[in-house]
Symmetry: C2
Subunit: 237 residues, 2 copies
């Protein structure tokens, strides 16, 4: 009689909170992830969360920790270029699993341990590959967000779902208006349809991503071969 129908509620802890937050963001999107909703998901009152994360900002930092730890460690016994490439593409896989990760990574300014670990080991690939500390510094900057497997895309099909209006007549009229006002945009968007099906646009994205990544990696290689250094670089305005 004393033990009623109340479930033997699993004790809350930081990890359970973070895992639940990641899962909830995966399901409902980052804008719908609120402290109140997360608490509800955990069958707990909102204030209970504050014993495990100081505030919402720390929750987001914790979520970043969780997902950054999902990125593969650097490949051992691989050439620097392959190693960086694999790493970045692994980060990209993680990002595809957590669509909200991009905006959260962009917004975070504090460097949590998992983030620092990721940077440290990526830097290690370059240094081990014969890059000077100087060049490695700039090369890391040049990679920028691409290191996390994303870049701000201008024609982001995936971010703009259900674009075409149902009515084909409206669609044709819209196309016509575009062709008149923005002929060059139309020209280049139709030019590179390396994938005919609308369905598999993920492949398209990947092609663009790797195009830019390889362009940068080739550039890095060239600078390294030329013993580039920032002091020898002439800054042309």
């Amino acid at each position: 009689m004393a033990q009623v129908l109340v479930a033997p509620r699993v004790r809350l802890n930081r990890d359970r909170v973070l895992q639940a937050a990641v899962g909830l963001a995966d399901q409902v999107g980052i804008e719908a992830l609120s402290m109140r909703r997360l608490a509800e998901e955990l069958g707990v009152v909102p204030m209970a969360l504050y014993k495990h994360v100081a505030n919402k900002d720390e929750l987001l930092d914790g979520m970043v920790e969780v997902i950054v730890a999902e990125i593969d460690p650097p490949a051992r016994d691989a050439e620097w270029k392959t190693a960086v490439r694999l790493r970045v593409l692994s980060a990209r896989q993680m990002l595809l699993r957590h669509p909200w990760a991009r905006s959260v990574l962009e917004s975070r300014t504090t460097h949590t341990p998992a983030v620092l670990d990721y940077l440290e080991s990526t830097i290690g690939i370059f240094l081990a590959g014969g890059f000077s500390a100087d060049l490695t510094h700039h090369v890391m900057h040049a990679l920028g967000s691409r290191m996390w497997g994303f870049t701000q895309e201008l024609f982001d099909a995936s971010a703009d779902p259900a674009r075409p209006p149902a009515d084909p007549a409206v669609q044709a009229a819209q196309m016509q208006a575009m062709a008149e006002r923005y002929p060059q945009i139309l020209q280049i968007s139709s030019a590179a349809a390396h994938d005919d099906s609308v369905v598999a646009h993920g492949c398209d994205d990947r092609f663009e991503f790797e195009f830019a990544l390889d362009l940068l990696l080739d550039g890095f290689e060239r600078l390294r071969a030329a013993d580039w250094s920032s002091s020898s670089a002439t800054r042309t305005a």
Copy 2:
């Protein structure tokens, strides 16, 4: 007696709302920009704004319109490379005037006319410079957010103000801990101090930005010279 002390309130219109929103965001930051606060700034009740913008999303789109229009038009009679470079650096100046612009540009998915105009004229530079539509497509993707004058930076000093703690002893201990846990991060961050003063770190940012930009532009030039096309490109996994 009928005309009381009420100021002859200037009639609200869309442009006045957008200009005020941009100004307010410049002053107080984007996270403090709310419909309610903006209304207060304009001496009006919150609901009055909704006659001129449908909702907050449209307000943000409108703000993007305002600032994108501030970017210089393409330089006439300039080589493609110089023209792109100038354009991107002009976008960067705009971004420095409106620190909130970066996150808002990142979050927008709808393409408003001013944004399309910007894309159209930038594409025009490449096409006029002898780039194929195909290559222009990929090159625009590779530029990505750099086209707006920014990239996600990993060591973003400006986003992380007042980092060093006041106590020099604490600072030294922190440095020591970093050196042990993240030796390579420390190595590369000290390696490329091309500007000795802490004050002018804006120059540092500019150096990194131009380093990556020029690396890309040089890569574009090489592909163009080699008559690169997406169909001839072998996709190595």
